[in-house]
Each structure stands twice: as C-alpha cells, then as structure tokens.
C-alpha cells in the first residue's frame, strides 16, 4: 500500500490541480491577512470558509481522481498487489496531497505574518487539524461514491449532492426539527444530530474555541457538560476520527467486491 500511496501522492503533487488548490489557499491566506492585518481575525474568517470549502474540494477532487485514474487502477489490479492496498493507497495519496496543499498554502502566509509571535497559534493548529480531518473524511466519502458508481456523471452528481446535503440542507432540516419540537428537551438530540454530520462536528470544535461564551448561555445540563468541560473537545475529536475510519472501511468493503 505504501508504494501505491507514494506513486499516487507523487502523481498528484505534480498535477496542475494540486497547484491550483495550493495557490488558492496561499492567495486566500495572504488576502485575508492583508485585509485584516490581524492573525487572530484572519483565523476566525478562515474557520468559516474552511468548514464549507474543504469538504467541497475534497469531494470533487476525490471523485475526479478516482475516475481519472481508472485505467491506471486497472493496470495495478493485474499486478500482484492486494486490492484494498491499491484503493487505500490512492485514497491516502489524494487525501495526503490535499492536506499538504492546505497546510502549506495556509501555513506559509501565516508564518510570514508572524503566527509564532501571536497567540492564535493554537486556533490555527486546530484549524489545520480540523481541515485535515475534513479532507480525509470527504475524500473517503467521495471514493466510496465513485467506486459504487461506474457512471462518472452520476458519481459526480451524488458526491456534490452529498456535500450540499451535509453543508447546507442538513442544517436546515436540523433547525426545522429543533423549532418544531421546541416544547421537548432537545439538548441530547441536538448534540447527536451534530455528531452525525462531520461538517457540523468540525464547526462545533471551532465554536468551542470562538463562541464558548455564547454556548454556555444555554441551560441544558448535557450541553453544559459537553461544552463547559474538555469533554466536548475530546468527544468531537473521537467522533471525527470515527468519521474518518468509516469511509475507509466502506472503501475496503467495496473494493473487495467490485468487478473491473
């Protein structure tokens, strides 16, 4: 698997799209810092952008890579390599190169603008960690979608729909159900609903940093325990990890059973 990973990664970091992605983050970082001239504020703005954008880019990139490397995959399938290694290698190659683009693209401007001298370094690290998690999760999900759909257009469609659902529609439904059932105790429900969506979960991790004052304004005891202690952070991280593992398992399962 490491060899496949190496080649996929190598292939990707030389591809045009990785540069586009890298340059995009580089520009975003510099522009935000130029406009705000304040590392902390730029981090906050970035957090808002990143929880929506990373899943979208991860999804599109994952699907695209899968379909584009189909023939190469078939070439590899005839080689004495374990099937799951081929797909997992490619998956880690894509997710890894995207994460690298993210870390370098954002890291360079922030370091140049004096990240080490600011107190935003923890927030920034959290931002990158969350970004990495989202990249791995959404590349994984897009791989599962792509491997389940021979038709490229269909696969693309489903992947973008999945993103749209998790990034926007889910929260709309979530909000509506909270308002409809406002008579009932809802804090467990809202925490569970949050955990079921990796984008919401990442958002919560960021809220824990930025909006703890507002979160603690709510009465629910479970809320209080979750947000008021380190429990929230630890649990969110654990669920994100679970979210990362699930698509990988799905990919393995699908890879073992698919015909090429």
């Amino acid at each position: 698997m490491l060899k496949i990973l190496k080649y996929s990664f190598y292939d990707l970091i030389r591809s045009r799209w990785s540069y586009v992605y890298f340059l995009f983050y580089l520009t975003l970082g510099f522009v935000l810092l130029f406009l705000n001239n304040d590392v902390s504020k730029a981090v906050i703005t970035l957090m808002n952008v990143i929880i929506v954008l990373i899943p979208l880019i991860g999804t599109i990139f994952g699907v695209m890579y899968y379909y584009n490397s189909k023939e190469f995959t078939e070439l590899l399938l005839a080689q004495p390599i374990k099937r799951s290694s081929i797909f997992l290698g490619q998956y880690f190659g894509v997710a890894g190169s995207l994460t690298l683009s993210l870390v370098l693209g954002l890291g360079i401007p922030f370091v140049l603008y004096g990240l080490y001298r600011s107190n935003a370094i923890f927030d920034f690290t959290l931002l990158l960690v969350t970004g990495a998690f989202l990249t791995f999760i959404f590349v994984g999900l897009s791989f599962v979608i792509a491997i389940s759909n021979e038709n490229k257009i269909k696969g693309f469609g489903y992947a973008v729909l999945l993103w749209l659902f998790l990034a926007v529609v889910y929260d709309g439904l979530f909000l509506m159900s909270l308002i409809v059932f406002e008579e009932y105790p809802l804090d467990t429900f809202s925490l569970v609903a949050t955990a079921l969506n990796p984008i919401d979960l990442s958002r919560i991790l960021i809220l824990l940093k930025l909006d703890i004052s507002a979160l603690l304004g709510y009465t629910g005891a479970i809320f209080k325990k979750f947000f008021g202690t380190d429990l929230g952070f630890v649990v969110s991280m654990a669920i994100l990890l679970l979210w990362t593992v699930l698509p990988i398992l799905g990919l393995r399962y699908k890879a073992k059973r698919k015909d090429f």
């Binding site: 906050i44 990034a167 809802l186 960021i206 004052s213 603690l216």
Partner: protein, 399 residues
C-alpha cells in the same frame, strides 16, 4: 493603663500584656483613644465600638469569632478599624452576622482589614461619610442561602469604597437604598451571585473596577443617575450570567468599560436614556441583549469585536441610536475615505431571534445555512427592526 498623647491614650493589647482582651480594652478606653493590637490570636466576638476609637492591628493580629456571632459592631462616629485579620464569623439564618457592622455612624474608616471565613463581611447600615479602603475579603461561599455579601451598604450615603478585593462571597459589593457612593479600583471575583449589586440606589459612581467570573456578573437595578466608567467585566459565563444586568435604570452613563468573554455583555431591561460610549465588547456571546421596551438609549463609539452576536432584540421596535461604532463583522467599504463605512451596518442577526425562541439552535451558530439566512435578512429585513442600524460604522477600531 495607656500612654497619654495629648488628650488621647494609646492602649497596647497583646496576649501577655496587661490588656489581653480587645473587648475589655475598648470598655476601658476613652473616646478618641487608640488601641494597638499586637500580633497574636484573640478569640473574641461581639466587640462593640460605641465611642470614637482607632483600633489598629500590628502585624495582622487574628480576631477569631469562633463562629459565635458578629465580630465588630461600630455604633459611634469617627471610628477607624485598621490592619486586623478577622476570621470565623458566625453563620446564622436569622441574623445577618457580619465581620464588621457599622450602624448609624459617620466618618468611619475601615482599611487594610483581612476577612476570612465569613458570613457577611463589612455591613454598613444607615451610615455615611466613611471610607472602606484596601480590604481583602475572602469568603468560601457555596450556597446562596447560607452565605452573605462581601461589602454591603444599606441606607448609607457618601461612602467611598476603594481598592478592596472581594471574592467567594454571595454578592461581592451590595448597595441598597444607598446614594452618592463612589466605588473605585476594586476587584470583585468568583462570587456566587453578583460581583456588584445595586438596588434602589441613585447618583452613584463606579469606576476602574474589575468584575470577573461572578455567578451572574454585575446587576444594576431600579436606580437612577449611575455613572459606570472604565470598569472591566470578564468571564461571567452561564445561563443567567451577564457582564452587566441593567434593569429599570434611567439616565445613566456607561463609558470606557471593557466587556470581555461574557455570555452576555450587557443585558438591558426597561432602561431608558442611557449613554453607552466608548466601551469595548470583545468575545462575548451576546455583546448587548435588549429585552422589553428601552427608549432613547444611544450607543456611540463602542468597539464590537468578535462577539457571537453583537446585538439581540426581542421586539420589532427600536428607539435607540447606534452611531459611529466599530463592528468587527462589518464588511462594507469606505470610498469617500471619511473613516465611516458607506453602507450601514445591521447589528441584529435573524439567528439571534431564532436562538431566543429555541435556545438549542445555538449549535447551528456559524453554519452555512444560518449565514445564508442572516445574509438574506440583512439584505431585506423582515423580522428585525428596519431602523436598527449603524449608519456610520467606523472603519477602524476606536483606540
């Protein structure tokens, strides 16, 4: 016997001295005498100071009330208490026992005292023209029903409360029916309920104080003509926790204060004609929450930075003026370079209405869905008051 200096005597009290009891020495002393209490532990309580005396500790002698009742009760004018360490006030459910109670006295001075293991700390009752200066009051209050306030003023006036440190009591500083009080440079923190609590007290000034991590912050209620300047309100977190709670306050000025990391910076209920000038609201859940009818308030030159919500209203009416404030979430531009944004800023998000109605929705803060809804509301307001806007938002932080 004491030494005679002029017309006044100085009495020295210590464990091995001729005068080993503070209580008895007070009885023996003549008005305007001075008692010097040497280092040591004095197990005494209900010390009645009914004549003008100076009682001064040397090396912080401990007066241990052994939880039997009040420690000092001052009923005379011109009394000074200085440099004593008072501990173990008796907790009672029927009497408000205090470490020091001043009753109907004038020109008192309570300074450099350390109060621990207390019920009420310093209780001023119908007293005036005194000074409570540089005391340290450390309580260990756990429940509201069996704890007292750090410094309490009841029907008192013209008192200066300065440079005190109050923590771990029920209300750090409590004023009821007390006018013309000046409260400066105090630190009130980790108190169960309020750091500072005003009720029915007018013409008071408090400035340069720090209120941190109190159960519910600072409450100013049913009072007029209060000036609140240059105070810091920090880290008051919780469901009903505010940097400051204003209820039925009229004609006040709130300027130069810093509200940082509070669940709610200022909670305003039924308060009118208040000027909010040059305050900093940083990293609060809600910088300002307006409940009910509040008229003719003006908010000018304030910095609103990184608050989850800048302003929250629960009505569609607005009679308050927002002008020339800095809003960190303002995204407008300044083409004519006059330092003010060319498009108005609308500080009330639709989402804040949703959260008021269904508090659990707070978990959707900063979600794309809510941002889209807030954006559309900002473009064409339906639920938020149309005239609630800052037409001249500052482009740069007011420094």
């Amino acid at each position: 016997m004491g030494f005679q200096i002029g017309s006044a005597n100085i009495w020295t009290v210590c464990g091995t001295c001729e005068n080993s009891s503070i209580k008895e020495t007070i009885l023996r002393a003549a008005p305007h005498d001075t008692l010097l209490i040497k280092k040591g532990t004095y197990k005494e309580f209900e010390l009645l100071v009914d004549k003008p005396l100076v009682i001064k500790g040397i090396g912080y002698p401990i007066v241990d009330g052994e939880r039997k009742g009040e420690i000092f009760r001052v009923t005379s004018d011109n009394v000074t208490l200085d440099g004593l360490f008072l501990i173990n006030v008796g907790v009672s459910y029927t009497k408000d026992n205090a470490a020091i109670r001043v009753v109907q006295s004038k020109n008192f001075r309570i300074q450099n005292m350390v109060l621990e293991q207390l019920f009420f700390g310093i209780y001023l009752e119908k007293s005036s023209h005194g000074k409570v200066y540089h005391n340290r009051i450390i309580g260990n209050a756990v429940d509201e029903y069996n704890s007292g306030n750090g410094i309490q003023l009841w029907y008192s006036s013209d008192v200066e409360v300065a440079k005190n440190h109050v923590q771990g009591t029920r209300d750090g500083i409590y004023l009821e029916f007390s006018d013309r009080i000046t409260i400066t440079d105090n630190v009130s923190m980790d108190n169960l309920r309020y750091g500072l609590h005003f009720m029915f007290s007018n013409h008071d000034i408090y400035s340069n104080n720090t209120f941190e991590n109190n159960g519910a912050g600072v409450a100013v209620m049913f009072s007029k003509f209060i000036t609140m300047k240059d105070n810091t309100f920090r880290k008051n977190w919780g469901t009903a926790a505010y940097g400051m709670l204003l209820k039925e306050i009229n004609d006040a000025e709130i300027s130069g204060n810093t509200f940082e990391e509070n669940t709610i910076g200022i909670n305003i209920e039924g308060s009118n004609r208040i000027k909010y000038l040059n305050n900093d609201f940083i990293n609060n859940g809600w910088a300002i929450r307006v409940i009910g009818a509040c008229y003719t308030n003006s908010f000018k030159g304030n910095n609103f930075m990184y608050n989850s919500f800048d302003i929250s209203y629960n009505s569609k009416l607005n009679d308050n003026v927002f002008e020339g404030n800095f809003w960190s979430s303002y995204t407008g531009y300044d083409l004519d370079k006059d330092g003010f944004g060319d498009v108005p800023y609308r500080p009330v998000k639709l989402f804040s209405y949703v959260v008021n109605r269904t508090p659990e929705t707070i978990v959707l803060l900063r979600s794309l869905f809510m941002d889209i809804i807030d954006f559309s509301e900002r473009v064409s307001p339906v639920f938020t008051p149309d005239n609630l806007k800052d037409a001249q938002p500052l482009m740069k932080i007011r420094s």
